[in-house]
Amino acid sequence: MLAFALRRLFVSVPILIVSTFVVFVMVSLSANPLTPLIARNPPPPPRTIELERIRLHLDQPILERYWHWITGVLHGDFGPSVQSTMNIGSEVFGRFGVTLRLIVLAMVVALILAVLIGVISASRQYSKFDYTATFFGFLFLSMPSFWFALVLKQVGISINTTVGDQVFYTIGSSSVVAAGGFWAQFGDVLGHLILPTISLALTSYAAWSRYQRASMLEVLNSDYVRLARAKGLPRWTVTRKHALRNALIPLTTVTALDIGSILGGAVVTETVFQWQGAGAFLLDAIKRSDVYAVEAWLLIAATFIILLNLVADLLYGLLDPRIRYA
């Protein structure tokens, strides 16, 4: 299994290189990071513009620029930012750290919701619960995440105003002035996570729960579940031990496939709640045509997606004895 994992990681490297290259070319060709500088009023001296051009390696051909960048990354240098004071490397990792909290927590909540609702819906097909769950599933499937996040934020603000106290945090990923010991800060961070997590989890769980319901239904109607019932096992044991265990296998694949869209959802959610996370970093970088910053972001995001897909593959193998990593 270790060999399998290593081989998979090894295969991912060229994919990463090609995809970062494609994005590098796209961003480089589509925008000129010097535009804001040139457009400045009064116009800066040509010497300044030239210096900036050299600092951003714009004097080199695009292939050479990319080569510079990718070799630099291997040494921990993520290239110069349009904002001369920013160190892309240290900045982007900090930002992703903030975002990772939201993504991990939201995914855990969404998965628990999806499995619970999917299993209950399937076991009580066509019951009131099933219909209600299906309705809300479709509703959240059709809900624009930014809109729902804005509504939640508004609800939080209204509650705060009504109560006259800060019940929900609606802005930022933590309080600006961090006070108190570790636990106080931990609580502060957790408090800021509540609304964004609800928002991201609810707009993500629906597709998974529909999927879990369908695969659970299929398993519940399988011959081996019928044989398990014919053994005289209690219904709950059959559901948990025989049905759920098998129905979870396909969910791992689907979850892995959706990681990219969760990341997208996180960007939107962060924007609404004004987090200084990876989302804001990316959006600012795009607006500044900051090629190296965008590249750094995409490299980390793609690596994250590839790693989680690998984890899902390994999990799949653990859950299903038929899979052999040959």
Partner: protein, 365 residues
């Protein structure tokens, strides 16, 4: 009770099915899958149930196990161990399932859970009914694997179903059925999904399991060949009803219902010299919104106007044999080819195949 078959073995019946009907409401009308089935099973006896797909034979057995989907409407009674299983709740049924009545399903490729070892799946059947430690159950599971003649049982017990062949898997399913020494084993087409070469071995294993546990057995199949070697008595089902019942000899040598005769005509035989197989033309009726009259009438060479008006009852004949036909006397002593040739336009196209594959030959082709 309309039946009282006096042949076979003596003693009180272990399982009595009376007037069992099963209906499935669907968007396009109510499907009557089983329409009043009666049978009794005595200790140690093997009852064969024969019929085409759609004749209701599998639904009957699933009804006995209480494993029909909730949408099914079941009526009649199924008496086992002093209880009517149709009136039992889930908890009481779970005490019967696997312990009182065990079941062997058709397809061994899908009947075992792919994510657990076969040893665990057998042990689970034991722990479901006996308060024993897991390692004890596991040891018993290995013994059971040995009983159904799986080589290297100790090693095999730790393997997953996908590592076993179809025949081996069916042996595992039989081992599961034997695990709690049930009074009744229902084998639903236990050999249909298997290679012909393996079928005989599985039937042997079933027989051994039945001897070992002393259980009575219901053997459901579409293959008269399987019935001939195994069963004591036979019920022939058609369109959700028993249309003929009797001992194996009576059914094979003295059928009293045209459908049975037709089944025999489509079976290659070594003991009687026949030039051609005689198929029954047509298909069984759709069991939703059935027209009145005998359901076999559209395919029956003896069909008369009365057959489309009145459905014949199952009436007792000689030797406790029962048949449901208005013209049962006209069937007696007839040769299948004689009776069915008139209706079988494509009969000539089916040559007799007297080889191994013949046992698998379709009953209705």
């Amino acid at each position: 009770m309309t039946q009282n078959v006096s042949d076979g073995r003596g003693g009180d019946p272990v399982l009595v099915v009376e007037d069992l009907t099963v209906q499935f409401p669907t968007g396009e009308g109510v499907v009557s899958a089983v329409r009043g089935v009666n049978y009794q099973l005595r200790r140690g006896e093997v009852l064969g149930i024969v019929g085409e797909s759609g004749s209701g034979k599998s639904v009957t057995s699933l009804a006995v196990m209480g494993l029909l989907p909730k949408t099914a409407k079941v009526s009649g009674s199924i008496r086992f161990g002093g209880k009517d299983l149709l009136k039992c709740n889930e908890k009481e049924l779970n005490k019967v399932r696997g312990k009182g009545i065990a079941m062997v399903f058709q397809d061994p490729m899908t009947s075992l859970n792919p994510v657990y070892t076969v040893g665990d799946q057998i042990a689970e059947a034991i722990t479901a009914h006996h308060d024993v430690r897991k390692d004890v159950a596991k040891k018993q599971a290995i013994e059971l694997l040995d009983l159904v003649r799986i080589p290297n049982p100790k090693q095999r017990a730790d393997e997953y179903p996908h590592q076993l062949s179809g025949g081996m898997r069916q042996r595992v399913v039989i081992a599961i059925a034997m695990a709690n020494n049930p009074d009744v084993i229902i084998a639903d087409e236990p050999t249909t999904a298997l290679d012909v070469t393996v079928q005989a071995q599985i039937l042997e294993a079933l027989q051994a399991a039945q001897k070992e546990t002393g259980a009575a057995m219901v053997l459901i199949t579409h293959d008269l060949g399987v019935i001939a070697g195994q069963a004591d008595r036979v019920h022939v089902m058609y369109a959700g009803k028993v249309v003929e019942s009797g001992t194996v000899d009576d059914i094979f040598y003295n059928p009293r219902m045209p459908y049975t005769l037709g089944l025999l005509g489509s079976l290659p035989r070594l003991d009687v010299k026949t030039e051609r197989l005689t198929p029954i033309t047509g298909s069984p009726p759709a069991t939703q919104n059935m027209p009145p009259g005998c359901p076999f009438s559209p395919r029956c060479p003896l069909s008369q106007p009365i057959c489309d008006e009145e459905e014949p009852e199952l009436v007792a004949g000689p030797n406790g044999q029962h048949a449901a036909c208005h013209f049962t006397e006209q069937v007696v002593g007839k040769d299948p080819a004689e009776l069915f040739s008139a209706t079988s336009a494509d009969a000539a196209a089916v040559p007799v195949a007297v080889d191994a594959t013949a046992t698998d030959t379709e009953t209705n082709r």
